[in-house]
């Protein structure tokens, strides 16, 4: 009880002490919060993007089979569906048709994909929201694409793709099989790739092995690999941002060290007074520990809170271009709030802990001097 009361007295003293040096402490907290805000924003955003990707890709097929010709991806004949034979564990297999189309009017690449399940007419398309925004079109309007042989084909927009999936569907155009073949000049009997659904995820590597044996000119791409690639891309982008932020972090370390450790003559005198009126060295250290803790914890929470609001309510507007990485068509989507405990702990350890240590050490040097210094 007495211990808690003593800590309360010390915190009380620290708070009044901090208010006495408002300028110094608020300046320090502002810079501190800003650093935490930037680092936490990048961490939260990257983590949430990875989570989002993971969730969306849950529904995607386990294996994508591509045909390779001279080391490059080529169309895969329809006969390969028969040629691969029956493989245990594969619940569904089908050919997909997709491709890229450059739109010079908005200087962007669209992904065109045949959607068998959407029951689209040959003159209808469903488009991603980013395309609608870039072109300024709404369902019911027409969009014109230039085909492989220079012909123009107009399509009526049936609807827009679900906003929830915008992270992966921003640049997507869904169309009819016939329209696709006409637009790209792709004949019957071939697909872009074949997708296979597998119910038991542990069977996937074995199935992939069988596919390579039976169809040696193909390359199976596993869902885990896609997820890993996305993970690597976002981690790489996070790394790039951290490197860019390193300069700011270094500047903060120097600033914090100077502010926290450089005791003014007034502060030294104050410690002398406290010691002479009966405070022990440990009391002074406790008090300074609380000061460091109050400044760093408060800054950490303020910085983290603003980062949370920035990422999940303001769509991370500051870091969006780097972390999302679409060149022209920026997806607009609200991330599902998601916080990784380990990331919070890491950020906490690398910001709060060094600051508290940086505060304590120089104080200790002053606090162990004889208290009679104030009498001289």
């Amino acid at each position: 009880m007495s211990f808690i009361r003593r800590q309360r007295y010390l915190v009380d003293y620290i708070l009044s002490s901090m208010l006495r040096r408002k300028g110094k402490n608020f300046g320090l907290m502002l810079v501190y919060s800003l650093i935490v805000f930037m680092l936490a924003s990048v961490m939260l955003f990257t983590h949430a993007l990875k989570q989002e990707m993971g969730l969306l890709l849950q529904a995607s097929p386990e294996i994508i089979l591509q045909r390779m010709v001279a080391g490059r991806h080529d169309f895969i004949p329809e006969t390969y569906l028969e040629k691969m034979g029956r493989i245990r564990g594969v619940t569904e297999r089908k050919g997909r048709l997709w491709g890229y189309l450059y739109d010079p009017s908005v200087k962007a690449n669209y992904t065109l994909m045949v959607a068998e399940d959407q029951a689209l007419d040959a003159t209808e398309v469903i488009i991603g929201s980013a395309i609608a925004r870039a072109r300024g079109i709404v369902p019911g309007d027409y969009i014109t694409f230039r085909s492989f042989d220079g012909e123009s084909y107009s399509f009526q927009i049936k609807s827009l793709l679900d906003h929830e999936t915008e992270i992966v569907s921003a640049d997507l155009v869904l169309l009819n099989r016939k329209a696709y073949r006409a637009l790209f000049g792709v004949g019957e009997g071939v697909y872009t790739d074949i997708v296979l659904s597998v119910s038991n995820a542990r069977e996937v590597p074995k199935i992939a092995e069988k596919l390579v044996q039976r169809l040696p000119d193909t390359r199976p791409i596993l869902k885990q690999e896609v997820l890993r690639t996305y993970d690597a891309i976002f981690s790489w982008r996070q790394g790039i941002l951290f490197v860019l932020l390193a300069g700011a972090i270094m500047a903060f370390v120097i600033f914090a060290w100077d502010k926290a450790s450089g005791l003014s003559a007034e502060e030294k005198r104050e410690i002398g007074i406290l010691k002479s009126i009966g405070w022990e060295t440990s009391d002074v250290l406790h008090m300074k520990f609380w000061e460091g803790a109050v400044v760093s914890l408060l800054s950490f929470f303020i910085g983290y809170l603003f980062a949370y609001l920035h990422v999940f309510y303001a769509s991370a507007s500051l870091f969006e271009p780097v972390l999302k990485g679409w060149a022209v068509l920026y997806p607009q989507f609200q991330l599902i709030p998601s916080v990784d405990g380990l990331q919070v702990a890491t950020l906490f350890f690398f910001t709060v802990f060094p600051y508290v240590v940086a505060t304590i050490i120089p104080i200790w040097q002053v606090a162990i001097t004889d208290p009679d210094a104030v009498m001289r």
Partner: protein
């Protein structure tokens, strides 16, 4: 009641260095309890150094200091602090109040490490301020106080832990004659309350005051003369 006795006490600064300097040289004396004792002498005579050793603010280079039966000169800092906060109250020449804090906050500051009940601590602080006619200034910032008010705030702070011995280092150096007389009146009050008061001064208002029971004169770090005043 604790008697303070010093036996051949020496304090050397910068020991072993070319600028070695002996501030106190073999001082032996006894300070009686419940009396007002004044250490008198010119600047540099070692008054403050001696006072800081008696008040457990520093340790002698050699010799012994006893507080009652306990030898305090060889104790580690932790124990010295404990004795200091329970036994001594300090009044400094520059008052050493912490600017930016109110009078009441300054007064209760020595009690923080002891963590008493907050309500009773505030009550005690207000009682002290009332006794020294400063209660109306309890919430004022100390930097706005006059010299006499700051002095009284410092006395209240020195008394907050109810110490047996009060130590005042050149308490009248920043006061005019009227306030110096008032200060001695306050010391007289404290003696009546059973406190031991130890003052350093080279101000005649202090050492010639009838409040002072005995005067010890120091010169170049040694006891030059000791005299008892008729009570």
């Amino acid at each position: 009641m604790n008697r303070i006795s010093l036996d051949n006490v020496t304090k050397v600064f910068n020991q072993g260095r070319p600028n070695e300097y002996a501030a106190i040289r073999g001082v032996s004396l006894t300070i009686e309890p419940n009396k007002v004792t004044c250490l008198k002498g010119p600047s540099g005579s070692g008054k403050s150094t001696l006072l800081s050793m008696i008040g457990c603010l520093s340790r002698p280079s050699s010799g012994r200091i006893h507080l009652g039966d306990q030898m305090i000169s060889g104790l580690p800092e932790r124990f010295l602090t404990d004795i200091r906060r329970h036994t001594f109250g300090f009044i400094f020449q520059q008052f050493n109040l912490i600017a930016g804090l109110s009078v009441i906050e300054n007064v209760i500051l020595p009690a923080y490490p002891l963590a008493p009940d907050h309500q009773s601590l505030m009550m005690r602080a207000h009682e002290l301020l009332a006794r020294f006619e400063l209660d109306h200034k309890a919430d004022s910032q100390v930097q706005w106080l006059s010299g006499g008010e700051a002095q009284r705030a410092a006395i209240c702070r020195a008394l907050i832990n109810n110490p047996q011995i009060l130590i005042a280092d050149e308490p009248t150096a920043n006061l005019d004659t009227k306030l110096s007389h008032a200060f001695m009146g306050q010391m007289s009050q404290l003696r009546k309350l059973g406190k031991t008061v130890l003052i350093t001064s080279h101000d005649p208002v202090v050492f010639d005051s009838p409040v002072v029971d005995s005067v010890v004169e120091l010169l170049d770090g040694s006891v030059f003369l000791g005299e008892e005043h008729a009570a």
